[in-house]
């Protein structure tokens, strides 16, 4: 029947539009693992540095060289481990869904993700060396959130709301500096684990 053909056409159009412009093979497992790594990183940062810091509002808190090094090592380890797990699980998922891992969509996704992230990273390093350790949790959350919102145009819609939540948490973390690390753990840890569980459930049906 005519009608059926056109219904089919519409479905085809929608499918092609999303397949050609969005990277849909996000892996839930990568969200969960990255979240757990973030929680571990936050715990390590708390034990080694933040617990003993007297964070007075927006003011400078000069870190000893030892503390600064510890913080940088923890941050770098968290980042590298997260990237490794993220790339591993996402590649696996893309293979499962027969989507190419390196094409125009993923390139666009990464470029849009990376611009706010690098900007935020450089700014955070500059502020950290000037002693604004208390601002780090909030600022990293804000820039991560902006990156997600930006990149969400090229992947699953849900990423946009995740990004907005990270931005809100980041702003709160900057406002309540002494509790900053707690909000960091919620944003990078718990939220990502929750999204890692919820998104696959939603798309399974």
């Amino acid at each position: 029947m005519e009608k059926e053909k056109y219904l089919n056409d519409l479905k085809e159009i929608k499918d092609m539009m999303s397949r050609s412009s969005r990277f849909i093979s996000l892996s839930g497992l990568s969200g969960i693992f990255v979240g757990i790594i973030a929680l571990a990183g936050a715990w390590a940062a708390w034990q080694s540095v933040y617990k003993n810091l007297d964070l007075n509002g927006y003011g400078q808190t000069l870190l000893s060289n030892e503390n600064l090094t510890q913080l940088l090592v923890i941050a770098a380890a968290t980042l590298v481990l997260s990237l490794a797990f993220g790339i591993y699980f996402t590649t696996r998922e893309a293979k499962k869904q027969h989507q190419r891992i390196w094409d125009q969509q993923t390139r666009r996704l990464l470029v849009n993700l990376v611009i706010p992230l690098i900007t935020g990273g450089i700014l955070c390093l500059m502020l950290l060396f000037d002693g604004f350790a208390g601002l780090m949790p909030g600022l990293t959350l804000i820039f991560y959130g902006l990156a997600l919102v930006q990149a969400s145009q090229y992947t699953l819609n849900e990423i946009r709301s995740l990004g907005m939540l990270e931005i809100v948490l980041g702003l709160v973390a900057v406002y309540l500096v002494p509790l900053g690390l707690l909000f960091w753990a919620i944003g990078f840890g718990i939220l990502q684990i929750v999204y890692g569980i919820v998104i696959p459930l939603k798309y399974k049906s």
């Binding site: 056109y6 219904l7 519409l10 085809e12 159009i13 929608k14 092609m16 050609s20 412009s21 125009q104």
Partner: protein, 96 residues
């Protein structure tokens, strides 16, 4: 009813051409290989449908070289976007 049918476009009745246009309207441009992967068709088949759309003014082409290899980029023209939009709207009207 007649008004609706007038907007249904012969150019988009074909599955492959429908796919090409769907992909091009949501992307700034796509190259030949990207389209081929998306649609899962042979070179010759894809080329002839692209030529058809180009002849109707719905698709424009830009040829360039990337690492000395020829690379052809395909764009949806303003006219193509408009015609495609009308086509979709006509389908939606028809299904109501």
């Amino acid at each position: 009813m007649k008004d609706i049918l007038k907007d249904l476009n012969k150019a988009f009745e074909n599955k492959i051409r429908l796919g090409i246009m769907s992909a091009l309207v949501v992307n700034d441009h796509l190259d030949f290989n990207a389209l081929k992967d998306l649609l899962d068709v042979t070179d010759g088949n894809l080329a002839s449908h692209l030529k058809y759309l180009e002849k109707h003014g719905y698709v424009s082409i830009k040829k360039e070289f990337i690492n000395r290899k020829p690379n052809t980029k395909y764009y949806a023209t303003a006219e193509g976007r408009e015609a495609f939009r009308k086509h979709i709207r006509a389908i939606e009207q028809l299904l109501k």
